[in-house]
């Protein structure tokens, strides 16, 4: 009896210790910034490990994922451009083909629950299938990629390190990609340091812009993530192109021209803007909000300015300049230069 109790007590103690040490490790691999809400990605079904993240990074930068081994995820999601494709309105993939939309920034994905401009994919783990199979992006198939990976010397080793055996399955492949992308957290811009009282200073114009963004934009781009991850029609002229947005997923007329609200973080480096990259400067974007198109599904927040009652958002030229000045404080250089997110050239 005594022996049994000792065994029980020790095993309980061991379990508790194991729990705390794993929680501790997770905190190191994925730190929730103190001013951020809790992430929504279900980490329990894909616990981050150092080797899993490293495998994900290697895959992310491997052009083997495309049919002719020329395009990697990193071709369209470039770190210096906030993981968008620098300067491309519509992203370019395999055979120099043009895709339907602007490459989205990959940042703070652990807080998002639907992916793509139209939100068609409900699970980050399943998203990579989209670019992989798209004829203008990578034009490849999952079974082919897994075969190619099995034949390369380094991958069975990397998969063993990450998952305990050399088996290369789609679950492991997709979860490793997620692990890497989840670690891309940006929370260290000048704005963040100001919020955390870490001695960042703001010019009067930036400060005025901050207040304006809180007043005029936070209905859709709320702090600290600068998006509420909802799908809305922000009044872009539909004559420019006829991408129906979320309608393509729900076939519901109420969802026509609704797109995912993108984050404003690092927005100074992610030009061009919007789902089709129609605007090349932040000045154009902010000016757009003063003259939105009144389509049937225009978001109610843009139908009448809360202060002036006029369509869109009423902003004087000075106010527009202030907002742009504030948007530039959201650039997170430590994120854009973090070696952990760059291609590992050592492999």
């Amino acid at each position: 009896m005594k022996l049994k109790i000792t065994v029980l007590v020790t095993s309980v103690a061991l379990l508790v210790m194991a729990f705390f040490s794993s929680a501790h490790q997770k905190a190191l691999l994925f730190d929730v910034p103190p001013h951020f809400p809790a992430p929504v990605y279900p980490f329990e079904k894909n616990p981050l490990t150092e080797a899993g993240i490293e495998l994900g990074r290697t895959l992310f930068y491997d052009a083997l994922l495309s049919k002719d081994n020329t395009i990697s995820c990193g071709s369209c999601h470039q770190q210096a451009a906030g993981f968008t494709q620098s300067g491309q309105a519509l992203s370019r993939g395999i055979n120099d083909l043009t895709t339907r939309r602007n490459a989205m920034p990959l940042v703070n994905l652990a807080w998002s629950s639907h992916f793509g401009w139209d939100g068609g994919v409900h699970d980050l783990d399943l998203f990579p299938m989209v670019p992989i199979q798209n004829e203008a992006e990578m034009n490849e198939s999952l079974p082919n990629i897994l075969e190619k990976l099995r034949k390369k010397r380094q991958y069975p080793v990397l998969f063993t390190k990450a998952f305990g055996s050399p088996d290369i399955t789609d679950e492991r492949f997709l979860k490793a990609l997620s692990q890497f992308m989840l670690t891309m957290v940006s929370a260290n811009s000048r704005y963040d340091r100001a919020v955390r009282h870490q001695g960042a200073t703001f010019t009067p114009s930036e400060r005025a812009g901050w207040i304006l963004v809180e007043r005029k934009c936070s209905g859709c781009h709320p702090e600290p993530l600068f998006t509420d991850f909802s799908f809305r029609n922000n009044g872009l002229a539909s004559t420019v192109n006829d991408d129906p947005g979320q309608y393509g997923i729900t076939l519901n007329n109420e969802d026509r021209y609704k797109f995912k609200v993108p984050t404003l973080r690092n927005v100074a480096v992610t030009a061009p803007y919007m789902h089709d990259g129609r605007f090349t400067t932040l000045e154009e974007v902010v000016a757009h909000y003063t003259g939105v198109e009144h389509g049937e599904t225009l978001d109610h927040l843009l139908k009448r300015d809360r202060e002036t009652g006029i369509l869109g958002i009423s902003l004087t030229p000075t106010e527009q300049a202030d907002i742009v000045a504030f948007l530039r404080t959201l650039t997170d250089d430590s994120f854009l230069q973090d070696c952990r997110f760059a291609e590992n050239k050592g492999l």
Partner: protein, 269 residues
């Protein structure tokens, strides 16, 4: 302290007893198998890919180059009216006309008894369509090269039925090709509803009884009539709808395929 340790021990011994009890039960219940065969036909002809020409109710001639569909979530009704639900994990099958081995499969671990009908879904239910990649195994695995890709990456849903072929009703500019890729599991998407093309089919064994015992495995022969995809509640014209994928009209085709499976007979194995 003493008390709580005692409690812990009590709980764990109770748990132990519980698990043991379950095991005992499994050992005593008699179980058996049912084999199901889906034979694809076109009216009263065998379906032959590529070679044979068939005609729909509109009078359009066509050939079939591909015919695939998911059947899932099997339930079997006993003669006493009670039902046995096949555990979901063993309940997904992809019937492919070009893979004869895919057209016959066996449901295992059925409680012995007399069964009078089977029902199942055409398609993959919403729960599984929203499931983690780890639960998408076998025919649901988009990474297995062993079966035709029946998956839409852009909405992470499955294509429930693929019917492709050629017909002179389609302009030669489109190579005379028609295709119907029907899916849509009803949403769960952002709490929003999308089109739902899941259809439940119930097939009574026409008065026959399939008696499952440990030693006898009935084989239920079913026929799936590809013409029913065209000729149902609505008559589908290839000329008017030469390609249907994720769009509202697809629900009409789903209503048609809800009628495509019939009971033929039972053979003993």
């Amino acid at each position: 302290m003493r008390q709580s340790i005692f409690l812990l021990l009590l709980v764990s011994s109770l748990l132990g007893a519980f698990f043991q009890a379950c095991q005992n039960n499994v050992g005593t219940v008699e179980t058996g198998f049912i084999t199901l065969r889906f034979d694809n036909v076109a009216g009263n002809q065998e379906l032959k890919l590529g070679t044979s020409t068939y005609q729909n109710a509109v009078g359009e001639s066509f050939t079939v180059s591909k015919f695939n569909y998911y059947v899932s979530n099997f339930r079997l009704k006993r003669t006493d009216g009670t039902e046995y639900v096949v555990p979901q994990n063993n309940s997904y099958f992809l019937i492919q006309e070009d893979k004869p081995e895919s057209q016959t499969f066996t449901l295992a671990n059925l409680p012995a008894g007399d069964y009078k009908s089977v029902s199942f879904l055409i398609g993959v239910d919403s729960l599984r369509s929203l499931a983690d990649i780890g639960q998408r195994t076998g025919v649901l695995d988009p990474g297995l090269g062993t079966h035709d890709a029946m998956y839409w990456d852009w909405n992470s849903g499955y294509i429930f039925l693929k019917l492709e072929g050629t017909s002179s009703a389609v302009p030669s500019a489109q190579n005379n090709q028609f295709f119907y890729h029907i899916g849509g599991f009803g949403g769960g998407y952002n709490g929003k509803k999308t089109i739902n093309n899941l259809r439940t089919i119930t097939v009574p064994f026409g008065g026959d009884v399939a008696s499952v015992t440990a030693t006898s495995t009935p084989k239920i022969n079913l026929t799936t009539d590809v013409l029913k995809v065209f000729n149902g509640n609505t008559t589908l014209s290839i000329a008017q709808h030469s390609s249907v994928m994720f769009e509202n009209y697809s629900t009409t085709i789903a209503d048609n395929y809800a009628q495509m499976v019939k009971y033929t007979n039972q053979t003993k194995q």
